[in-house]
Amino acid sequence: MSRPRDPWAFQGLEEEARICARCGSCRGICPTHAQVGWESSSPRARVLLARELAGGAGAGKVPPEAVRRALECTLCGGCREACPAGIDTRTFLLTLRERLRERGLDPEAYRLLAANLAARGNVSPFDNRLRADWVEELEDPAAIAGAGEPAEVGYFVGCVSSFYPAVSDIPLGVAALIGRMGKRVAILGEEELCCGFPLLLAGRPDEARGLMGRNLERVARLGVRTLVTGCPSCYHTWTHDYPAAAGGPLPARVVHFTEYLLECLRAGALDLGEAEPLEETVTYHDPCDLGRNSGLYEAPRELLRALPGVRFVEMERCREEALCCGGGGNLQSLDPELTRGIAAERVAEARATGATVLTSACQQCVQVLAEAARRTKAPLRVVDLAVLWAERFE
């Protein structure tokens, strides 16, 4: 097989597994390895396991423990950052999950997730027709454009903040801020489907592309130039996976809400003089799918520094070195206790800064970290950046 010209391009599961130097540079940054401790839970071991799991022996010969270890990963991208051989571990591990699915080795939790998505079009246990119920809580519902009405921007809400009460304030905050700027926002409402990322995580790219295709058609009908999302996983999927599904340009420019808010702020769309100062010490958690996996570190930080009264402090591990919250990679469905352990460590790190507010720009991170703060009785308010901003103008 001839090598691709770009030596850094992903060369397939088997070839990348051979490239692995077994050096162990990936171990220190891995959030699951930090919790579990055994070598088998390290990224290095997952690469070694991949060689066995990806081909050859039938499903009956593979110990379930090996599959579990291979899937005990949030896809935070930390190991990719640390790997001296430049292995794109995210692509590697997603490819491995596909192979496991093909071999019938995917866990029951993933099959249930896929069945739920097929039935409902979202990751929650609720009917998709309830997806836009949060609109009823808006103080100014007029900010939401009705069907067929013109709007400056579209908003892809994401499943977690649409259905889970703990973070239902996020779409309210986003819509309120957009409305305050005198703009109208179009949403898909119950037409919005899961972005497809959980299916990619479950090794089911074909099913994911089915959802993507339908979302693409529906967003195109909105007729907006800009599509905003507050969910980094939706954002990453839209910007990295949807182009291939679209087979051409996307129907709109896709930006994360923090980028969009910063653009608007710079354009003078919001008067900070009207913002109530926060007067708190605030620290920021980099969501993996926004930070490491999408390269967006600055916009949230600029927004925090711009807020009157905020004393911003960084956590020990931030930006490229940020510790994952534990909520990604479908890990929560596979091992909720492991997710809780990782989240507790991240909350402890936030507490160590002396901050009283922990903010992030991800619905899943906020949900997972808020639950960890409650469980560990941390004197810390966990809140999404959009909500933090929106509150300043209430």
Partner: protein, 481 residues
């Protein structure tokens, strides 16, 4: 047996799971199973992950009572079999002993758990305005205890000496289970454990000298046509800029050409010397001028500044060349700086004679010594070819020994060179320490002191020579098809 005995103390931190044990039966190096089986029995009976020195004691005492080997393991980031069992036993995964602190009130030293990585330690110190004196290029993976056990030469050693010079004391669990705090005055002294490769006891904590973070840093890259010119530059810079030069790192032409294929900016075809400086801004400016003049005097030139900084940023990524060559074999040697050019020239001739793509890089670790890694690609999917290629390692080590050098580490795979690497009195002293501290031979046995029969120097050298001849024959036949 072991798990049941250790359960009361370690609970879930001991395992006999086959899946788990398999991961502790190897390190960086790929060794064809057919060969490995004849030299070692690497699958441990159990793996223990102690969370405290008391738990280490529990494991060691149990092992001593049972006559079972104990194999300390940190990052598992070497290629010589140091952390791989030779006679089964219990692997001690020390990564849980990773606490950093306390820092002494004067900020001059810090106690650190042996399982902390150098990367994490460096970051923890950085947050306090402190810095390491030296660290390995494998800092993300290598543990404090592991690098101490391996000799501790690497980045910063030129400025601050070998790691042992910066260690004030160590906490060790001896093979009889006794906990000792050792320094330079104790019996045994801490120096016995530096470079002992985990064979004299289990280092659990290290008291390490640290320093204030330097005010500023500067990075330069010198290019030249010949390695000899760069060696002269290195020697001159090391002498004239002592106190300002932190590190010197040399790449030969073939290694730089590999980097160029990976897209390294402004990829030089020839050898380069990276000069890494620390100090006050004014001091650095003067030092940069000195480097420029010295380089010019030797027929070299300063390359673009961004490339120098890129080389510095990539100092932990020497293995990025694996993207070009998924399987690599390498020899790591400590050489006199004055013989480096000659060694590399001989490597060039070896490469031509055997159709090899040899590439080398080195860290200048003292004014007169350089730690060199010489690599070449192979293919582990073809076991016969892989083994025939591996015979060339013996030739590389022989070239290094002839150049007045020695293997950097012994472990299992470099035991054939023991009697050439150590003068008889030094080897006798090394063995005497082992007999004294570990009379029952439970601490990481089967390596570091004597070669196993298959690797005995009497037939190892001739055997490797025959393999090289066969390799040329096979290669000639393949070339003639």
């Amino acid at each position: 047996m072991h798990a049941a005995a250790l359960l009361p103390e370690l609970g879930p931190r001991v395992t006999t799971s086959l899946l788990e044990r398999r991961f502790y039966a190897g390190d960086l190096a790929y060794v064809p199973p057919a060969v490995l089986r004849r030299v070692a029995d690497p699958l441990p009976d159990a793996v223990a992950r102690p969370a405290s020195v008391e738990e280490v004691v529990a494991v060691v005492r149990h092992a001593a009572a049972a006559g079972t080997p104990v194999v300390p393991r940190g990052g598992g980031s070497t290629a010589y079999g140091n952390a791989v069992p030779v006679r089964r036993g219990i692997v001690l995964d020390l990564n849980g002993l990773d606490a950093v602190g306390p820092v002494a009130a004067d900020g001059a030293t810090v106690w650190v758990g042996a399982g902390a990585t150098w990367w994490e330690l460096g970051r923890a110190l950085g947050r306090r305005g402190l810095a390491l004196g030296s660290y390995p290029s494998s800092a993300r993976a290598a543990t404090v205890g592991g690098w101490f056990a391996m000799g501790g030469l690497g980045i910063g050693s030129l400025a601050h000496g070998p790691l042992v010079d910066r260690v004030r004391a160590v906490e060790v669990v001896l093979p009889d289970g006794e906990i000792r705090r050792l320094d330079r005055e104790t019996d045994p002294p801490l120096g016995w454990f530096a470079g002992s490769e985990g064979t004299l006891g289990v280092v659990t904590r290290v008291e390490l000298a640290v320093r204030r973070k330097p005010a500023a840093e500067s990075h330069l890259l010198v290019g030249a046509e010949e390695v000899g010119s760069l060696v002269s530059v290195a020697a001159a810079v090391a002498e004239r800029l002592a106190g300002t030069v932190f590190h010197l790192h040399l790449n030969d032409g073939p290694y730089n050409r590999m980097l160029a294929r990976l897209g390294a900016e402004g990829g030089a075809a020839g050898p380069t010397l990276a000069v890494d400086l620390e100090g006050e801004a004014g001091e650095l400016a003067r030092a940069e001028e000195v480097v420029g003049r010295v380089a010019a005097a030797e027929g070299g030139s300063l390359l673009a500044g961004e490339r120098a900084w890129a080389e510095w940023r990539e100092r932990f990524h020497a293995l990025r060349v694996k993207r070009l060559h998924p399987a690599l074999l390498g020899a790591e040697l400590l050489l006199p700086l004055e013989t480096l050019a000659d060694y590399l020239a001989r490597c060039g001739r070896l490469a031509a004679a055997h159709g090899l793509a040899l590439a080398s890089y080195g860290h200048v670790v003292a004014r007169d010594r350089v730690l060199v890694m010489t690599l070449f690609p192979t293919d582990e999917r073809a076991p016969l070819r892989y083994l025939l290629d591996a015979s060339l390692l013996e030739k590389l080590y022989s070239l290094g020994l002839r150049a007045g050098g020695a293997p950097y580490a012994i472990g299992l795979w470099n035991t054939p060179y023991l009697e050439r690497a150590f003068a008889p009195p030094a080897l006798a002293e090394r063995r005497a320490r082992k007999r004294r501290l570990d009379p029952r031979g439970i601490m990481n046995p089967g390596k570091s002191y004597r070669a196993p029969w298959l690797l005995h120097p009497l037939w190892f050298g001739p055997g490797m020579g025959a393999a090289r001849a066969l390799r040329r024959l096979v290669g000639a036949r393949e070339g003639s098809r």
